[in-house]
């Protein structure tokens, strides 16, 4: 293929977009709408999942030790536990730390006086513990059993109900997310290829004429492909921009307005989200533009 034919194809593809402006705008509109919806729901879902994870991490298991246990043994137990795959994070809270925490909460303003009055005599001296968060809350019961069975462990405390509830909610949200994302992807692909099919069907006669004059399939198709890719590109950039804007606004509104939320929950950063959204949008937008134009022209090329 000559370089001039190549350039011609690109020029024609761009011209076609203007010539079939109605169709081009419709296609871009469809892609924008679908990817925008997709982006918005992706953001919602990612944040929900992240909130779930935050919540899970507040469900800690505390492991307390036999009275008078040596620091060495505590370390041994700690190493044993750390090897388990269920462990997400594990912190050692010494008896002094536990007392300090407690006193801070209990005595608030009189904290210093309280500490002074108990000076050197920690009322919680047997309350050193490991605070563990789990990777997967569904194995909690089993894991607690294991922990209780360890030598030197006096008590394992946890709040079973909360863990169950969060676990269930998290599963439901997980399945729902997959369901929604699947539905949105499916609908997007359907709608976009729909528009492309209609658009190219309208130009069936045009394609037939070109073929009858002796144009190769490639020559007929190239401008359509350029057109499809450009429409796909524009159609996937706009919703990314829109999602960015909307997300930014919503997050700063919510953070500003509801400090209960901002205190307990950190929104996933837009950059994090875009690591996934950009490739998916590009794949759907440009990919469908490309594949759609190839597939639908093919049907009409048999002249």
């Amino acid at each position: 293929m000559r370089i001039s034919s190549f350039l011609y194809s690109i020029r024609q593809g761009l011209k076609n977009i203007r010539r079939n402006l109605l169709f081009s705008l419709a296609s871009i509109g469809t892609i924008v709408s679908c990817l925008f919806l997709f982006g918005i729901f992706y953001c919602i879902i990612v944040n929900f999942k992240s909130a779930m994870t935050d919540l899970k991490n507040t469900v800690t298991i505390s492991v307390f030790f036999d009275e008078g246990i040596s620091d060495e043994n505590i370390n041994l137990i700690g190493e044993q536990i750390r090897l388990r795959s269920e462990v997400n994070t594990m912190d050692f809270i010494s008896a002094d730390e536990a007392w300090e925490d407690y006193a801070k909460k209990r005595y608030k303003d009189n904290y210093d006086a309280a500490m002074a009055s108990f000076a050197g005599d920690n009322p919680l001296k047997n309350s050193a513990s490991y605070e563990i968060t789990m990777n997967d809350l569904s194995n909690q019961a089993e894991f607690v059993n294991y922990l209780s069975s360890l030598d030197g462990v006096r008590k394992v405390s946890t709040s079973e109900v909360t863990a169950d509830g969060i676990q269930a909610l998290s599963s439901v949200v997980g399945y729902a997310s997959i369901g929604i994302i699947a539905i949105l992807l499916f609908v997007s692909i359907f709608l976009i290829s729909n528009t492309i099919t209609i658009g190219i069907t309208v130009r069936k006669e045009e394609i037939a004429i070109m073929k009858l004059i002796g144009a190769t399939n490639f020559f007929v198709r190239a401008p359509f492909i350029v057109e499809g890719v450009v429409i796909g590109l524009v159609g996937s950039l706009i919703p990314l921009g829109l999602v960015w804007l909307v997300y930014d606004r919503v997050v700063s509104y919510v953070v500003g307005r509801f400090n209960v939320i901002s205190n307990n929950f950190a929104f996933v950063s837009i950059g994090e989200m875009f690591k996934v959204l950009i490739p998916i949008s590009a794949a759907i937008g440009i990919g469908l533009g490309l594949i759609g134009s190839i597939l639908t022209t093919r049907k009409h090329l048999k002249v």
Binding site: Y8, I209, L212, I213, G214, T216
Partner: protein, 229 residues
């Protein structure tokens, strides 16, 4: 140049053969009129020659290419050697007159500098030099027809198939077009013209093939228009 050997064609769903046992042998450099009443199968014949459709049975050979052996991917190559004027013009309706004619050249990958010279020359020849920027729907019927002709001729094809190229033209323009075709024919192009123009057929004294209900009822050198009954 064109050999048809017992060619039959029936449209899908059709009851009768649109073309029935057609045998034609046209030598390179000939100028042939194909005439016949409305619905006698002239356009169907052109469609077969252009491989727009396949014969139901029989053999076709055009420009040395046996159509029964022609692979799909080689069809474009064949068509580039043929210039066609369709009965209903078939112009690209979202391109200007200039682009419609230039398209035929782009298809054969003519360098741009030649396109820029040859297209205006061709448009001048058919009398449309000042309409090059118009879109097909901004043209009169006869003007559209001449654009179609310009597109068919611009590549100087080996074979020209013209289906009713003067149907929308006044006698003066028709004669000019005919002279243009004769001229091209003299330069080596084989010309096949479908027409209803009795006067032109009778005056030009060329070979005339007459169809009737899908069959050849006459094929004469220096023939005339045969009025039925």
């Amino acid at each position: 140049m064109i050999v048809l050997d017992h060619v039959k064609y029936k449209y899908p769903g059709g009851k009768k053969y649109a073309l029935n046992d057609i045998n034609i042998d046209i030598k390179p450099g000939e100028f042939v009129f194909i005439v016949g009443s409305s619905g006698s199968g002239k356009t169907s014949l052109i469609k077969l020659l252009l491989k727009e459709m396949e014969p139901t049975s029989g053999h076709l050979k055009v420009a040395g290419v046996d159509y029964n052996k022609l692979k799909r991917k080689n069809i474009p190559k064949l068509r580039r050697r043929i210039g066609v004027v369709f009965q209903n013009f078939r112009l690209l309706k979202d391109r200007t007159v200039y682009e419609n004619v230039a398209f035929a050249q782009r298809v054969v990958e003519t360098p741009s500098r030649f396109i820029r010279r040859q297209v205006p020359a061709m448009l001048t020849l058919v009398g449309l030099a000042d309409k090059y920027k118009s879109y097909p729907k901004q043209l009169s019927g006869g003007e559209q027809q001449r654009v179609a002709l310009a597109r068919a001729l611009v590549n100087k094809p080996e074979l020209l198939l013209a289906d009713e190229p003067t149907g929308n033209l006044d006698p003066k323009n028709s004669w000019e077009i005919m002279r243009l075709l004769e001229d091209i024919n003299r330069k080596g192009t084989t010309v096949v013209v479908v027409t209803h123009n009795k006067e032109i057929v009778n005056m030009m004294q060329k070979r005339v093939i007459t169809l009737k209900k899908g069959e050849i009822i006459s094929d004469e050198q220096k023939g005339g228009y045969i009025d039925e009954d």
